[in-house]
Amino acid sequence: MSEGSPYAPHTPETTAEMLEAVGVETEADLFDIPEPVRFDDEFGIEARSERETRRHVEHILERNDDVIEFLGRGHYDHYVPSVVDDLAGRSEFLTSYTQYQPEVAQGFLQALFEFQSMLVELTGLDVANCSTYDAATALGEAATLSQRVRSVSGERVLVPDLLREGKREVLENYAAGPGITVDTYPMDDGNADVDGLAEALDDDVAMVYVENPTVRGTIEENLSTIGNLADDHGALFCLGSDPVALALLEEPGAVGADVVVGDASTLGTGTAYGMGLGLFVTHEDYLRQVPGRLVGASDDDSGRRAYTLTLQTREQHIRRERATSNICTNQAWVALRTAIHAAWLGPDGLVDLAETCVTRARDLAARLDEIEGVKAPVHDRHHFREFVARTDQPAAAVRADLAKEGYAVHAVGEHLIQVCATETTEHVTDGFVAAFEEVAR
């Protein structure tokens, strides 16, 4: 291996010329670092050729066993068409910066404007930002927004008691600074227990958070009622969902939702060890309290339609500690991928994909239910993508035995297994059912 960065174009000759122009003898002379804090050691990191680097990383990643995933609970696998990689991978998109010079960033700005527009249509609300990091941080941002927009004090936010633990931890970290307490309401057979929720609600609640579909894959049936309940207490109604589900399920705007959060990377990315794309959509009323970037339509000097980041006075680089959020770098490129995937599907394709999420889960649950020692689904609800099954065998054993057969599922209770089925598991379902039968009886 040669020394030096493979991506620095300098030759010994040009380096010498530049040093001379600057007026120093060596590169070391350029560093104005007091001697006591200088680093004179080595990191001990070996340099590699590109071929060696590729081989090294490929070799490590081959240690990820090729297990077939029936996993969901907030991170999902949908087929991503090749055109997404091809187009989003174009270096003008991939290597560009945040669009501070809109005249040379019209491409990305228009794509983000289209992303916002798609979310506005999917939610029936007014204003979508360009992204937050993921569903959990979007929920955290919603909680802080609920504080800022509330006219009277309200220091509690209510979340389902079945909320995924990681999401709750993130929410609590966002809530702690503004002094918000995270409380729960009970669930009833997978869905929100409306009576229990009503009981938990009081005028100190700034926000009620409901997921549809729920973390157990059930579809909520009382969203309007919940919306009204929240409204009665002046609490924001925050709904968690994703663009695939939103293509089919009740429109949040129609059931009184004030904010929609969730993970938009269900389109465009596939499994990525949890990398997500936080979507954040709300009412026009809260426009100036929205966290993150917003792309707006405008005109250029020649009178043509043009796009630009707008309302930046909400943001950290201008308002600093009074910003609506600290978010700066977000998930723009993931949003671009989502926009391309959604465009590829079109409205028919989106609805069809969403219906597939209903029918695959339903059909797989029915097949597992035929196995002795298995009851599926546990919840007497409609499901989206995933469902919970009760097994006579301990869930931990079922999960471990299935893994040995090459299938990964969640264990979510002592005898509860959660299973996710989308179009990507179509060709492996028979084997999965057979393996389940083997290990669950």
Binding site: A47, H317, P347
Partner: protein, 468 residues
């Protein structure tokens, strides 16, 4: 544009059959009761060839690092090697975060390796990869500091931040519930006397960028560290400018207790038009128990996730932006010690060389990876617009405010002398132009100057608000 053939209505529950192909209206019944579904979905219906042309055209209206020089100060716009993209796209990298650990040993090994690399590079004892961006790293780092103070029965309310710092420092400290104390600069650097006056029993931390946003190394770093530590506070290092120091100095050796790394700056993962990035944080040993959970460790040749003893919990729903972390790992593994040190050397050489070639005034110095020139009588924002007409990307403008009409310029190591000379020529050409030429710029770009005022006054943020 998108939607050449107009909107199409996705008939929910009746004849939806979209699978990426044109629908055929097969009259299938809905799969759910009507009261659980929406009535319709109006979105553009376009074919794949139209999509390909649409986004190809959009990409050509976008300036990236592969379009030309991109000397955006404090943004470290390096070349993003395609090999790291290829590696992140490997099917073996596409795993679900809830796979049992034994089935993601590869992913965990990469994460463990990156924790190790970052620790060595920053001089930090322990690293968490969870924060999905620099600001998230700041937030996580401040949460760790807060947890540390609280565990020591030491409830502090203030974070001190120099006026030249990135806006995220202020916002992140505030989000974590701290009051922000702004520290004035002295000749572009921390005013040590002012710092002495500012720190005290309420000081939870000082957040510092070093070299700072003017490209200046905080020479008094030892004194600064002593002041803060003596007051019981912690030292937070903002990693935005770490590309200036690789192999020359390490935050941990300067006395910093917490830091974040911007892998989408220093370690060449692509900015993606605004993310995804990753903002891992490193800490000194005594702060390790408070790091976000989970981290990765090796036990008997196997890699596993574990929760630090007194973890602040999570700042991302899963384990952060894994594909970005993977790209950063590959970049570091490619460059190694010599490559990283050379990257810094050439980045600093490039900044100093470019500064030496400009006719604009460049106050302060000596610079490291970036410098801040002053546009003088010209409006820095106009200068930037006019530079676009010369086919180059302009620097960051009007910030930091210490320099009037600031042109904050960071060429990074990837530019050749030849390109820097072209860039200097563009600067100089603009420096010689009058206000009219500047005000009417740009004229050679996909869009002319865009009206940002009316965009903000009358926000139109979706198709619904466009009438044409």
């Amino acid at each position: 544009g998108c939607g050449d053939d107009g909107q199409r209505d996705g008939d929910v529950g009746s004849d939806g059959d979209g699978d990426g192909d044109r629908g055929d209206g097969d009259g299938r019944d809905g799969v759910l009761p009507d009261d659980l579904t929406r009535d319709s979905l109006e979105l553009p219906a376009v074919s794949e060839p139209e999509i390909a042309r649409h986004y190809t055209r959009l990409s050509q209206m976008n300036y990236g690092v592969t379009s030309g020089p991109f000397p955006l100060g404090s943004c470290t716009m390096k070349y993003n090697p395609p090999v790291t993209e290829d590696l992140a796209a490997l099917p073996t990298a596409a795993v679900h975060p809830d796979r049992p650990e034994r089935y993601v040993q590869g992913t965990l090994e990469i994460m463990h390796g990156l924790q190790d690399y970052l620790g060595r590079i920053g001089g930090m004892d322990a690293v968490s990869l969870q924060p999905p961006a620099g600001a998230a790293g700041e937030f996580a780092g401040i949460l760790v500091a807060k947890a540390y103070h609280e565990a020591n029965g030491n409830d502090r309310s203030e974070v001190v931040i120099p006026d030249s710092a990135h806006g995220t420092n202020f916002a992140s400290a505030a989000l974590a519930g701290y009051d922000v104390v702004e520290l004035p600069s002295d000749d572009g650097r921390v005013d040590v006397d002012a710092l002495e006056a500012a720190v005290g029993d309420d000081t939870a931390a000082l957040m510092l960028t070093n070299p700072n946003t003017l490209g200046l190394f905080e020479r008094d770093i030892e004194a600064i560290a002593d002041l803060v530590h003596d007051a019981g506070g912690l030292l937070y290092y903002d990693g935005a400018n770490l590309n200036a120091l690789l192999g020359r100095a390490r935050p941990g050796d300067m006395g910093f207790d917490v830091m974040h790394y911007n892998v989408h700056k220093t370690f060449a993962t692509p900015h993606g038009g605004g993310g995804p990035g990753a903002g891992p944080i490193g800490v000194a040993e005594r702060l390790e128990p408070y790091l976000p959970a989970p981290r990765v460790r090796e036990r008997g040749g196997k890699f596993e996730l574990f929760d630090p003893a007194d973890s602040v919990g999570k700042v991302h729903g899963f384990q952060g932006n894994w594909p970005v972390l993977l790209k950063a790992y590959a970049y570091i593994a490619r460059l190694g010690d010599d490559g990283l040190a050379d990257a810094s050397a050439k980045a600093v050489l490039n900044a100093n060389y470019l500064a030496s070639q400009l006719s604009y005034d460049v106050p302060f110095g000596p610079f490291h990876h970036e410098f801040v020139a002053s546009a003088g009588d010209q409006d820095a924002a106009d200068v930037a617009k006019r530079m676009l007409d010369y086919g180059v990307h302009p620097p960051t403008t009007k910030w930091p405010e210490i320099v009037p009409e600031a042109l904050m310029t960071e060429p990074t190591e990837i530019e050749s002398k030849h390109t820097l000379d072209q860039l200097a020529a563009a600067f100089d050409a603009v420096a010689g132009e009058d206000d009219d030429a500047l005000a009417s710029a740009p004229t050679r770009t996909a869009a002319a100057r865009i009206d940002q005022v009316s965009a903000a006054r009358d926000p139109r943020l979706s198709w619904r608000e466009l009438s044409e």
